[in-house]
């Protein structure tokens, strides 16, 4: 009779334990999917480095339009820019790596501890007081508790990362944006002036009407290429701006990263970022 009562007590004990674990698990698991998504699209956007190549090669492209006397200067300029290429690519790479690790810390996928947990369950069964049914419940409970504990630890790391990294992150993304918008943008304008000057001079010196028409068509083609680059530069400027703004919002909301207002805002930034990235890919 006493044995029957003990078994009955244990059944209720196991059920209560499961309920307790589910409650703990539910309280512990934060919804960070919006942050994970924002990090993923930021990482993908930051990996776009085509504009760096366009900037470095611009002096060589301009040799087509400029007189031979200027070519040594353009060659020297190309060498100076080639020396900057690695530093520029490293900036893109770092933003990408940072966003990758931010996404990993925010990831909701379970860190799998099944092997260890099952081993613990078996050990508990062998060593003490659990029967087969209790072992399964025990392993399930432990898994949930472990998940909650790991989630709590991960959330703390994520908040600490955002807090510590925000200031340098803003500087790095903002400075890259300045390089893209003012540097690459100014360069595109220089190239436009060079194309315009070259073809305008050819037309002014020519008497051949058919030749003039053909040359003007080529001018349009070349200028269209510069316009496409202009569009890409503007779009990438927007990409970097949205990445910086999104991270700033994370910084401001780091006290409760699963707050619904923060999640909604981050979803908005991710959406705007996707739009800017699509414009960028369409342009070049």
């Amino acid at each position: 009779m006493r044995k029957m009562r003990l078994r009955s007590d244990r059944r209720y004990g196991v059920a209560g334990l499961l309920l307790f674990a589910l409650l703990v698990g539910a309280a512990g698991c934060a919804n960070l999917a919006a942050i994970q998504d924002f990090a993923a699209v930021s990482s993908e956007s930051a990996a776009y480095t085509k504009l760096v190549g366009e900037y470095v090669e611009s002096p060589i492209r301009q040799k087509r339009y400029q007189p031979p006397a200027e070519h040594p200067r353009l060659d020297r300029m190309a060498a100076d820019r080639a020396a900057q290429r690695e530093a520029l690519l490293l900036r893109h790479r770092l933003i990408r790596e940072y966003m990758d690790v931010l996404g990993q810390l925010a990831a909701d996928e379970a860190v799998v501890y099944d092997r260890e947990v099952n081993a613990l369950g078996r050990a508990a069964r062998e060593a003490t007081f659990l029967n087969a049914q209790e072992t399964d419940a025990f392993a399930a409970v432990t898994r949930v508790l472990l998940r909650a504990a790991a989630d709590g630890w991960r959330r703390r790391q994520l908040a600490e990362l955002i807090e510590g990294a925000n200031a340098p992150f803003q500087t790095v993304t903002t400075s890259l944006r300045v390089i893209v918008v003012q540097g690459f943008g100014g360069d595109a304008q220089n190239e436009r002036v060079a194309i315009d000057r070259f073809y305008r001079t050819v037309v002014a010196e020519s008497r051949d009407r058919a030749g003039i028409t053909a040359v003007q068509e080529w001018q349009e083609v070349r200028l269209a290429g510069v316009s496409a680059r202009d569009e890409a530069i503007k779009a990438y400027g927007d990409v970097l701006e949205k990445i910086a703004q999104g991270h700033q919002r994370l910084y401001e909301g780091r006290g409760d990263l699963s707050a619904s207002a923060l999640r909604a805002d981050i979803k908005g930034y991710a959406r705007d970022l996707r739009g800017a990235f699509e414009r960028l890919r369409d342009a070049l």
Partner: protein
């Protein structure tokens, strides 16, 4: 005199505008200018335009220099965070947390209130203390 990146970008823009202004003058006065005069002005235009591009290169270099300290700080933060992700998966941490979780589970099963409190504390410590 030390030039900032903002100054350098401004100078680049100024050189380009000068180049364009000269070019406009050459085209507007094409018929009035001798070929040698047009060639001399054109040469100055290209020189100014390339000065604009040179200043862009200098400005980009200055921005990279000005943000270098922040770049290194962000690199360090990223490295530390990568370590945190790695630690999340370390067996030792898992064992620590699992051991504490097992203790808690057993205490709840046995309805041992004292042991529940003690093991919950152990689980919390295992979850929050760095390896």
């Amino acid at each position: 005199m030390k030039v900032s990146s903002a100054d350098a970008f401004e100078l680049s823009k100024w050189f380009r505008e000068l180049s364009v202004t000269l070019g406009n003058y050459r085209y507007e006065n094409w018929a009035k200018l001798k070929k040698s005069e047009r060639d001399a002005i054109e040469s100055a235009e290209w020189s100014l335009l390339n000065s604009a591009s040179d200043m862009t290169t200098i400005a980009v270099g200055l921005v990279l220099d000005e943000s270098e300290a922040s770049f290194e700080k962000l690199k360090a933060a990223t490295r530390k965070a990568k370590g945190a992700v790695k630690r999340l998966k370390t067996v030792r941490k898992v064992v620590d947390m699992a051991t504490a979780a097992v203790g808690l589970a057993a205490a709840v099963l046995a309805k041992d209130v004292g042991a529940i409190g003690k093991n919950a504390k152990s689980l919390f410590e295992a979850a929050t203390v760095d390896v």
